[in-house]
Amino acid sequence: MVSHADAVADHGHHEIAIPYNVTPRPDTGVYNAKLGVWLFLASEVMLFGALFSSLILLRTGAPSWPRGWELLNVWAATLNTFVLISSSVTVVLAWSYLRLGDLKMGRIYIGLTLLCAAIFMVVKGFEYTHEFREGNFPSKGNFFALYFTLTGLHGLHVLGGMIVFFYFLTVGSKMWKTEPQRYTNRIEVVGLYWHFVDLVWIFLFPTLYLL
């Protein structure tokens, strides 16, 4: 059944609402944005998959390959792993509290997620600065080329998430007053994206820093 929020709005001007962004679409069983984000994440898997595939090819084809901890700061990366895992739980808690109708707690946890993302980027910034000072640029060799490509692309994803969280924490949260379920769904969708960003880091961390 299409809710009022999903129905086509016609108030004298030709405004067409996006259907099924609150209630599940009967044939898919999910609201449209949720299916949309999963399709987007599928394409993201292929993007990072291609880079992981390149890493395997270059590493196994190289006569020697450094162990990450000899060149990189493992403790900074471990701290970042804790920070990103924490942000994953804060975003899912934000969604849970919104489902309970508690906007205040929801916003606190969205804010904490944003804070964790910012800490991650600052730590990454220190790492990059240190590497550049040591003369470790992407042009130095395959290891650093892969390190900067993979962590750089991942960092861009973190930055993208930060922009979206900032929006939902500030002006985007106005939607709660009129369409609380739609706002809650939006946090679920951005949360799915954020968990994917966390998942990628879970595999990047041992691959680049420990092996």
Binding site: P24, A50, L57, T78, S88, S96, W176, L192
Partner: protein, 110 residues
């Protein structure tokens, strides 16, 4: 405000169920932290040989990934269409990873 919220599944959205979920999320969070410490502890501090290190690191990463996907991304109880999308993704991802590994094994055979 809560009464206005339209729920997808009433049984999954009653406050008690959500509070139980919150408790589960906190347990998963603690498990992920422990597994991270384990990864660093075993591989770096223990200085495990590279062949074992790869197996241990991958096993822990897959476990952590499964926990995130299963609980935080709710893949333990998702709709069939989402599973279908992911199944197709897994096939293509596996092919991408198989390509370089196949190349390695071919070279080893020569």
């Amino acid at each position: 405000m809560t009464e206005n919220v339209v729920h997808e599944h009433d049984s999954h959205n009653d406050p008690e169920h959500i509070r139980r979920e919150i408790r589960v999320y906190k347990i998963i969070f603690a498990s992920l932290l422990v597994l991270t410490v384990l990864t660093v502890g075993v591989i770096k501090v223990g200085d495990v040989p590279i062949h074992y290190a790869i197996m241990i690191a991958l096993a822990i990463a897959i476990t952590k990934g499964t926990l995130v996907a299963g609980f935080f991304m709710h893949l333990l109880s998702e709709k069939k269409l989402i599973y279908a999308v992911l199944a197709l993704t897994v096939v293509f991802f596996a092919f991408l990873i198989w390509l370089p590994l196949h190349d390695v094994y071919t070279k080893m055979g020569k």
